[in-house]
């Protein structure tokens, strides 16, 4: 619970700051606008969190989500069967990556960096120029207007709940976290580390596919470069949400909160009229600041 305190506090502070700068945001429409784009980012962040949980890092997340967006916008509306097969194939490819990384003991950073070229190339082949359309049902889901609470908030809560149940409460999730905590103990206990890492990547692939589809549901078209910044955003979201790089210590609810905070930070910076030149830099700076803050907190705890 303490792990969640810092992310929750930063989100609340940021929400207050946004409301203070822009009181009109304090409404159903305002909240929906603020958090709309957070849904795909939250899904991508949970995907990245699963990878970080098993001790790896995925530098191809942005390219992969872009590829999924291209498949969703270019193929799914006209040929649902083929589109579904391709999306499942993408998840299978992710599982294969996990197996390859474990079997050959490769550094995930090199493999995923290489895969970012593969996903990017595939996305250009499928959708050479920006375009396509979103399947009707997807737009209907993403742009639904439930009473009282905006869709973006409901979706975030559902994502956090599902991720929490799968990762923290199920036997499957415990085994995956054990792989990140102590891979050797897992293999001594008679589990195949190759199979487990493949499962972890497959789970990440499922969330990343959902992220690409949700993104198309909002933008209603695809582009091979649509989500390239998701690589940084997803890593930052995991860290912001209290996840650590080693030992399988992550927090799915924190990751979703981290993604919401990052999205809000983007709006906050544009309310402040920060030059767009500095938007990317600001995200890097936020990341560094959070890590610095965490170090300070941890050292204060040690002293106490």
């Amino acid at each position: 619970m303490i792990r969640l305190a810092l992310p929750v506090i930063s989100l609340v502070v940021l929400i207050c700051a946004v409301f203070w700068l822009q009181p009109r945001a304090m409404s159903y429409v305002g909240l929906n606008l603020l958090f709309n784009l957070a849904v795909p980012i939250a899904l991508a962040t949970v995907a990245q969190m699963v990878i970080i949980m098993v001790g790896d890092i995925d530098l191809s997340m942005g390219a992969f989500v872009s590829l999924i967006a291209c498949i969703t916008a270019a193929i799914l509306p006209g040929n649902p069967a083929l589109g579904a097969v391709m999306l499942l194939g993408c998840i299978a490819a992710y599982a294969a990556l996990g197996a390859l990384i474990e079997a050959r003991q490769l550094p995930a950073i090199v493999v995923t960096l290489g895969m970012s070229f593969v996903w990017g190339g595939a996305a250009v082949l499928i959708l050479p120029s920006p375009g396509g359309t979103a399947p009707g049902w997807l737009t209907a889901v993403m742009k639904a207007k439930p009473p009282l609470v905006p869709m973006a908030i409901i979706a975030s809560i559902i994502i956090a709940a599902v991720a929490h149940l799968v990762v923290m409460r199920s036997a499957f999730g415990v085994r995956l976290r054990a792989l990140g905590g102590n891979a050797r103990a897992v293999s001594r206990a008679g589990r195949s580390t190759i199979a487990l890492r493949a499962w972890a990547y497959a789970l990440a692939g499922v969330f990343a596919v959902a992220a690409g589809m949700a993104l198309v549901g909002l933008t209603t078209s695809g582009d091979a470069n649509i989500a390239l910044r998701y690589t940084l955003l997803s890593i930052a979201g995991v860290i912001l949400g209290g996840g650590e790089f080693t030992g399988g210590r992550v927090s799915p609810i924190g990751a979703v909160i981290g993604a919401l905070t990052l999205t809000l930070a983007g709006s906050f910076l544009s309310f402040l009229r920060l030059s767009p030149d500095w938007q990317i830099g600001a995200q890097g700076a936020i990341l560094i600041l959070v890590l610095a803050a965490r170090l300070v907190v941890r050292q204060a705890e040690k002293r106490a």
Partner: protein, 315 residues
């Protein structure tokens, strides 16, 4: 000499020669051999220069990778070309110094984040790289400033034996790196840290200062490459460094250095760099589109890394 095929760089060179033969035979009945060689040496030089820096960082062991190379290249190129503003003479020296100093600054920032904030190097260099990139965007404002004529002539010229000047320069720097890594105390210390950081520290290796020097060296190499690349291609561009992140890691691994650290290999960098350029130009000469080219580059790199690195310790 008997066991030359056992040298870690041997297979990188074999692959480079094979790729050269294959590409040459594809290009218009084998006429453009020299042109192909010149192109491979020129573009290979840029990969070699970034690869040498990345190799030092990777040699320091698992988790050490510098992801800020592309942003550093762009920042150094943008600011140094802006300073020179096309003027020659003393301004060329000022521009070069600017690029190198930016490298020093970036290296120090990267190291400070890693050391003081105890951020894993990958995250530290990644998040800092976005700051460098923003700085470059902000200072550039989309303007494309031409490099001084003398520098443009130097980087595109072939003064000695018909070999590109850039290749001679990269070769000279490679020799320096070979001496540093194999004959100097600094190189021994890097390898010691990569093999066992704890043992290195207990043996009296000043881990902090060696790490600092390594990250600074890597960033200085990135700055220099950015400077040369901008002069070669007629100006700085915001995405000019994009391909060199994967390239610098790929040439290190293909060249026979251990991806798990502790073991570096200087001659292999050249084999890896030439091979990578030739493979990409082979794909080009088949007339394939950008999508297929990207896709195959990624697959080839992963395949080589998977085959080359075998089962080694990963942490």
């Amino acid at each position: 000499m008997m066991n030359i095929y056992k040298a870690p760089w041997f297979w990188a060179w074999v692959a480079a020669f094979a790729a050269f033969g294959a590409t040459w035979s594809l290009s218009a009945g084998g006429g453009g051999g020299m042109a192909l060689l010149v192109a491979a040496l020129t573009f290979g030089s840029f990969s070699v220069l970034t690869g040498l820096g990345q190799m030092l960082v990777i040699t320091m062991g698992p988790g050490n990778t510098d992801l800020s190379i592309p942003a550093t290249m762009t920042l150094a190129a943008t600011l140094s070309l802006k300073l020179m503003n096309g003027a020659g003479g003393v301004w060329i020296i000022a521009g070069l110094l600017t690029a190198l100093l930016i490298g020093v600054g970036v290296g120090i920032v990267n190291f400070a984040l890693i050391r003081l904030l105890r951020i894993p190097p990958i995250i530290a260099t990644l998040s800092a790289s976005f700051l460098y990139q923003s700085l470059a965007i902000w200072s550039n404002r989309g303007l494309r400033i031409k490099p001084p004529q003398a520098l443009a002539d130097f980087t595109t010229g072939r003064a000695v034996l018909g070999i590109p000047n850039l290749a001679w320069l990269a070769l000279a720097i490679t020799v320096v790196f070979w001496v540093i890594l194999n004959r100097a105390r600094f190189g021994r210390r890097i390898s010691a840290i990569g093999q066992n950081p704890r043992a290195a520290r207990l043996a009296g290796v000043p881990v902090a200062s060696v790490t600092a020097a390594t990250y600074v060296t890597c960033a200085v190499m990135a700055g220099l490459t950015g400077f040369l690349l901008a002069c070669f291609s007629g100006g700085a561009a915001l995405n000019m460094g994009a391909e060199f992140l994967l390239m610098s890691i790929a040439v290190t691994v293909i060249g026979g250095s251990s991806i798990a650290g502790g073991n570096s290999n200087v001659p292999g960098i050249w084999g890896g760099a030439l091979f990578m350029y030739l493979i990409v130009s082979m794909l080009n000469s088949y007339g394939l589109g950008a999508g297929v080219r990207l896709l195959s580059t990624g697959v080839i790199i992963i395949a080589i890394v998977a085959i080359a690195s075998g089962r080694k310790a990963r942490l």
